[in-house]
């Protein structure tokens, strides 16, 4: 009986399972795009570039290309590629060679080439609420940022921050810098900038000169994994007082504000596609394809950003950089064993470098200029016609480097390959972005900011504490800056969030009032509770006492 039941039950189950699996298989056949000339390719690496790479992957899937990308950080992207675990890598910095301390080698025996795929700015995103409202016009100089991330400035009401924000003090709240816990290109770019611009601040903190992929977390700093992890920490409910660094696309997606960073021209700017494009016109790209000794230069197309940091155009965002794809160049590559895979990677990169670049701006990146696209296509050719040691037949590069007519990259200027269209049309910053002016108000969005930027968001506003005030006279923008009433609970007053770029600042400085005025309240509360409980319980207790006494007597 028992066995029969079980057998029947099992066989019925089996039948159901088979039917389900069959139907799934059939439906997947219908869903899965089966393209003969493409094969699936895999990549991994930078979280800095992940947002745009993910978008490209979604876009090319319509053409039947199957691309996967794991955003596990630049360091792992380089390592995965070197280990032949992936077909391509994405890293914000080149292979670093042998480490002088650990003698660990960060290099690849697998023949490879770099090609820049997207530019962007490393943004500093922060979470700071004043009177229930998210501050969104914080301005910081590079030096202040350097000091914040080396634990020298530890409070938001530091005089230096106050000075840079037009004299408006932020509330007294400890600064919690959020850094990356994994090896990352964003950390490398950021520390490279620190090392170059503020060596006297950075080197004693790091204990060594130069960039590092692993941020040396100390003191109050919080570590998070990935740009997304940094963003999650900053925008979490408990993130008040945090500041972290991530690619501009992350705060853009999360609708969080980014710091206006002071450039050499004395303007506070955000990492919009224009400002990054302007800054990167000063990037020196290593264009030497072969070394003097005839060997191919593996640093071909890597960047030299010294002049970017010091560029004195008012529109320049100093912490701008490129992210690279790392592609295999050998014709005998272990993983690139079919022309279909090579074709897929080539077409994916072709899309990324041309049409894909038009997505860069809205997603918080900056498109590549023509000269780099051209050079990058030269590298793409290494996948097929120019592979070493022998060309691989059957790989068709859509956009050869000498004919980019079909490439609709938004930076191209007809007839002038070296020019960058974006840099030409980049708008000048507003007067309120100048270091000597009052910070911009809430409603002043710097030109070139993509829609949905954090500058427009005040999701944390409680509404009750802010009341619109009358326009303050001769404010150049005419925008009504909302003034803030002191919060009854904290006594703090909205300050910089509401400062107008006018002659008469409409706000007061933050006042420190302890929230714990309920000390006496608490005492009386406790007494009242004790009384209440006594009233409820005393009769019962009395009865129990009586009964016990009687029980004891009898």
């Amino acid at each position: 009986m028992n066995r029969r039941h079980l057998t029947r039950r099992a066989s019925a189950l089996l039948r159901v399972l088979v039917v389900v699996l069959l139907s799934l298989a059939v439906s997947s056949r219908l869903v899965g795009p089966a393209s003969a000339e493409y094969a699936e390719i895999e990549g991994s690496g930078s979280t800095w570039a992940y947002t745009i790479v993910q978008q490209w992957i979604a876009d090319v899937s319509a053409a039947g290309m199957q691309v996967t990308f794991n955003n596990n950080g630049s360091s792992q992207g380089r390592k995965d590629f070197a280990n032949s675990v992936t077909d391509f890598g994405d890293s914000d910095i080149p292979y670093q060679g042998v480490d002088p301390v650990t003698h660990q080698s960060d290099s690849s025996q697998r023949p490879y080439a770099y090609l820049p795929v997207v530019a962007g700015g490393t943004a500093f995103t922060y979470h700071l609420t004043v009177a229930g409202k998210l501050v969104n016009n914080l301005r910081l100089s590079g030096e202040t940022i350097a000091k914040i991330f080396t634990n020298q400035i530890t409070n938001w009401n530091d005089p230096q921050i106050t000075k840079e924000n037009g004299g408006h003090a932020l509330p007294s709240l400890p600064i919690t810098p959020v850094v990356r816990s994994d090896g990352s290109g964003a950390t490398a770019q950021f520390t490279l900038w620190l090392d170059h611009e503020y060596p006297s601040i950075w080197r004693p903190y790091n204990g060594a000169s130069g960039l590092t992929s692993l941020y040396p977390r100390k003191g109050r700093q919080i570590a998070a994994s990935g740009d997304d992890g940094v963003m999650n920490t900053v925008d979490s409910a408990a993130g008040n007082g945090t500041i972290g660094y991530a690619e501009y696309s992350y705060p853009l997606n999360a609708h969080y504000p980014v710091v206006y960073v002071e450039n050499k021209a004395g303007y506070y700017v955000q990492p919009t596609q224009y400002n990054v494009a302007v800054a990167l016109t000063k990037a020196r790209i290593n264009m030497q394809k072969t070394l003097p000794n005839g060997q191919p230069n593996i640093d071909y197309l890597t960047q030299e950003l010294d002049d970017v940091y010091t560029f004195n155009d008012p529109r320049s965002y100093p912490v701008s950089s490129y992210s690279y794809m790392i592609i295999p160049t050998s014709s005998t590559d272990q993983r690139m064993n079919s022309a279909a895979k090579r074709q897929t990677l080539a077409d994916f990169l072709s899309y990324a470098l041309c049409t894909g670049q038009s997505k860069a701006g809205p997603y918080g990146y900056s498109p590549l200029p023509l000269n780099l696209v051209q050079a990058a296509f030269g590298q793409v050719e290494d996948l097929g016609p120019a592979a070493t040691p022998s060309p691989v037949p059957g790989v068709n590069i859509k956009n050869p480097s000498d004919n980019l007519a079909s490439c609709d990259n938004p930076t191209f200027v007809k007839g002038n390959l070296a020019a960058n269209h974006l840099a030409q049309i980049a708008p000048m910053p507003l007067p309120c972005q100048k270091a000597t002016a009052q910070p911009c108000g809430d409603d002043q969005t710097p030109p070139g900011t993509p829609a949905g930027n954090g500058a427009k968001v005040s999701t944390k506003s409680t509404g009750s504490t802010t009341t619109p005030a009358t326009p303050t006279g001769t404010a150049p923008t005419g925008a009504p800056p909302p003034t803030a009433a002191p919060d009854p609970a904290t006594g703090a007053v909205a300050t910089t969030a509401t400062a107008a770029a006018g002659a008469t600042p409409a706000t007061a400085n933050a006042i420190e009032v302890s929230a714990q005025r309920s000390g006496d309240n608490r005492l009386f509360g406790a007494v009242a509770v004790a009384e209440l409980v006594a009233i409820v319980l005393l009769p019962g207790g009395y009865v129990a006492w009586l009964r016990r006494r009687r029980g004891g007597a009898s």
Binding site: K79, V101, P171, L173, I222, A224, T233, A492
Partner: protein, 338 residues
């Protein structure tokens, strides 16, 4: 009617029957059976034992490179060649202890409730619910802890610090009475990680305890009741002493799981390589989460270091589980359950 067997003349022609040879050694099909299953057992031994040997083998370069400093160094900084698991081990134990402190009373209460208090028709459902709880994937608990518990637990941590901050465990390096409390210090802590892990540990410990309690001899329970004991008196004098082994064993099994939990901790805790007793404060790290977070970038000696950390973790969980098994087997109740 009894008939005498007829004499069979043919039998004389055959050679006399010999007694069948008896042997414990399997022959024929049985030998095939025994040998093939021995091969299966051997393969499983190779696979599972291989992991242990592999871990031990991989630890050699680490121990050669870092020596015993590997166990005493706090920092995990491969770039400076300073790698050690002192802080990580402390973090692992802290998270596990928080989980145990929360889950032990709950598991005990639930096990007692199911065996002693619940209405009999409810019992099967409750047992199923606990078993289901054990089967819920840890990533789901991770989501629960990260999105539901974390915001509330941070407030609770602040409350604890305000009122019990004098106690070193509940101290946090932030001013609790500030006008705007620095809430970022109260999240992503060992405490919140421990709360989440406790949900995974609880059903495991509970089902062991429940099983042992349910095997308490009915006669002894009835005897206690007949002597006038209240239900609690009966539990205290009969069920708990009988199930002592199960309680300890179940708790230690849970501890083993808590020590090795990865994904929920990875999702919640912010990595920080500092030895600290302030469990409410942000930042801690466990061995499992360390491995999950660092394996990708690790090359050569660092990968070996991670595997060594894994070996240490494995040794600890092994020790805990073995102790649990010994305790359960030694106890009166364990003889039947094992």
């Amino acid at each position: 009617m009894t008939t005498l067997p007829l004499h069979d003349p043919a039998a004389d022609a055959r050679p006399p029957a010999e007694p069948r040879r008896l042997s414990r050694r399997p022959r024929g099909g049985d030998a095939v059976f025994a040998q093939s299953f021995r091969a299966v057992g051997a393969s499983v031994l190779v696979i599972t034992g291989g992991i242990g040997l592999f871990l031990a083998y991989q630890s050699v370069p680490t121990l050669r490179h870092y020596g015993l400093h590997f166990l005493t160094t706090r920092d995990w900084n491969p770039e400076a060649d300073k790698v050690g698991i002192a802080a990580v081990l402390v973090g692992t134990i802290e998270v596990a202890l928080v989980a145990m402190v929360i889950s032990f009373p709950l598991a005990l209460a639930t096990a007692l409730y199911i065996t002693e208090y619940a209405a009999p028709r409810l019992r099967a459902t409750l047992v199923a619910a606990v078993d289901l709880m054990a089967a819920v994937p840890s990533i789901v608990y991770g989501l629960w802890g990260f999105f539901l518990i974390q915001p509330h637990a941070a407030g609770f941590a602040l409350f604890l610090q305000r009122n019990l901050g004098w106690f070193p465990l509940f101290h946090v390096g932030a001013d609790p009475h500030a006008a705007v409390p620095d809430m970022s210090r109260y999240t992503a802590s060992a405490f919140i990680g421990g709360v989440t892990v406790s949900m995974m540990v609880m059903p495991m410990a509970c089902s062991v305890m429940r099983q042992v309690f349910s095997e308490t001899p009915q006669g002894e329970k009835e005897g206690a009741l007949a002597l006038g004991a209240t239900r609690w008196g009966m539990i205290r004098t009969v069920v708990l002493p009988f199930g002592k082994g199960g309680i300890i064993g179940g708790t230690m099994l849970g501890l083993g799981r808590a020590l090795g939990e990865t994904i929920a901790v990875l999702l919640i805790i912010s990595p920080e390589f500092v030895i600290k007793g302030r469990i409410l404060e942000i930042g801690s790290e466990t061995v499992a989460a360390l491995i999950a977070g660092q394996f990708g970038e690790a090359t050569g000696i660092q990968l070996s270091a991670l595997l060594t950390a894994g070996l240490v973790l494995f040794c600890i969980t092994l020790l805990v589980n073995t102790l649990a098994a010994v305790v359960v087997n030694r106890s009166r109740s364990g003889a039947q359950t094992a």
